[in-house]
Subunit: 296 residues, 2 copies
């Protein structure tokens, strides 16, 4: 089969839920905004804007409108401020992210030095930090761990990181404490997508990773894939051209948890055309060879 | 320097303490026994016997005599039985082992599935298991982990294992649970001896590891050393002969936490003789080149 998609590609439970909440709320409320992009996919954010759901960057821009909290969550202080504004709040924080926020609070309250494995500039991590009752330490890799000893360390992870990264951080942290309590908060959807991408990369000549360039989980799929084979990370089909597929027999497609079906389908159709299979009859992502619905 | 000793070789705090407690008690009590060998060094056990402190294997053999609990600790049930026997109990369990027993109880009481990294036939591990309120799982390596998922795992270690082993088990356990709480109970004396042995092995042509063949921490030193260089694990100087040193320039000596100074000194003197340096004036382990007192 020349073109194959990774099992479980595309929207995860948390993203589907956030978008559905936004669409449902827009039926009910006349004026509605999201505080920051609801998910890390510019095309979806643009589409929601067409539905009247604008993304604003700060509380000052809300101006009394009903406000959707993005899937990545927001800082505790931001939520408090929103409550004071007395606007309607629709909290579309992914439940797995909310659970991680709970752990941040719990571990710091129980006296652990909280470590967060993640990207300190990512909104999910910025929000997570705010839930710790004392200063959290954000680490992207073992090199970021301060050269000191702690009595008790509590570790949580940005939900979209990899098990390989978690293992490396855990191994390193064992030298820095007497007690290490690890809450494995890498979400199941993330792990499943990473595993499926890895399997497909091993049997492909070229991998196309589809999703927001600002999407953490999509970038992680590209990282994993490029360890095995040439990999392109694109947002839309417009970034593809015939030349890319000239010397390629087997193309693998994978897509992040925030990539919508219609973009994946356009990518599949464009690749089919580039490879000379014009007029493919596939019109649903589920029908692309290799797809399998995830079991959550 | 042709013969060098690893920093921090020989008796650790827990062993020194246990032997001192035994000797002090023998001054006070006429009839005294240890329940099992007090430490894993047959020569020391033999010497204590000469002082009137016999090692017995079972409660039936105690016959009303004051009883010393060995440094490795005993099962909770055994301690209960001893109390019923109404004999005087001198508890020489290493305080680091006692702390590990406390963790076994605490973690199982808090609902964690307790894992013990260690050797299931070692007296310390047999005792540790008994302190868990529910069934503990003993694992020597990642292959021993049952192929199932647990909600929360609590991990402790036999005090004499290596960090390398702990890391391997921790990495593997991360795939088996949502929460992993690791109490790093590898004792400081163990880690320090392993590190010093590793450093010396790297600059030696032959390593002599001195200590009980039944001593877990000594066996671990031999394991670590033989990854780098030819290594002999001996109990006494009698196991050495000239032939072993014929083609050797630099000999490293290391000794387990239960190896007494007099045996180390005999080994050093025998090696000196074998290497042609007859009449060495060194009469204290502290004076052997390379030795450094540990900071605990």
């Amino acid at each position: 089969m020349p073109i194959k998609i990774a099992k479980n590609s595309g929207f995860c439970f948390g993203v589907k839920r956030a978008i559905q909440m936004a669409l449902d709320s827009s039926q009910r409320c006349e004026d509605i905004v999201t505080l920051g992009p609801i998910i890390h996919n510019p095309q979806v954010v643009e589409k929601l804007k067409d539905e009247g759901i604008e993304s604003v960057d700060s509380i000052q821009d809300i101006k009394g409108r009903a406000t959707i909290i993005r899937s990545h969550g927001v800082k505790r202080e931001v939520l408090e401020s929103l409550k004071k504004e007395k606007v309607e709040i629709i909290n579309a924080t992914c439940p797995y992210v909310s659970k991680t926020q709970d752990y941040a609070r719990q571990l710091s309250q129980e006296g652990y030095q909280l470590f967060i494995m993640g990207d300190r500039s990512h909104p999910e991590v910025i929000a997570l930090e705010s839930y710790a009752d004392s200063n959290a330490i954000v680490v992207g890799s073992p090199e970021d761990i301060p050269a000191k000893k702690y009595s008790r360390i509590g570790l949580i992870s940005q939900t979209t990181r990899s098990m390989e990264e978690l293992r490396a951080i855990v191994s390193a942290l064992l030298l820095h404490c007497n007690e290490l309590r690890v809450m494995n908060t890498i979400c199941n959807a993330t792990s499943i997508r990473q595993q499926s991408t890895l399997e497909l990369a091993k049997e492909s000549d070229l991998m196309i990773v589809v999703g927001g360039k600002n999407s953490s989980n999509t970038k992680m799929l590209a990282n994993i894939s490029q360890k095995f084979i040439e990999t392109l990370h694109i947002e839309t089909a417009q970034e593809l051209d015939v030349g890319m597929f000239e010397k390629v027999d087997r193309v693998g497609i994978t897509a992040g948890a925030s990539t919508p079906d219609w973009i994946i389908l356009e990518v599949y159709q464009k690749i089919s055309e580039c490879m000379g299979n014009i007029g493919t009859s596939i019109n649903r992502v589920e029908d692309i060879p290799g797809f399998k619905e995830e079991e959550c």
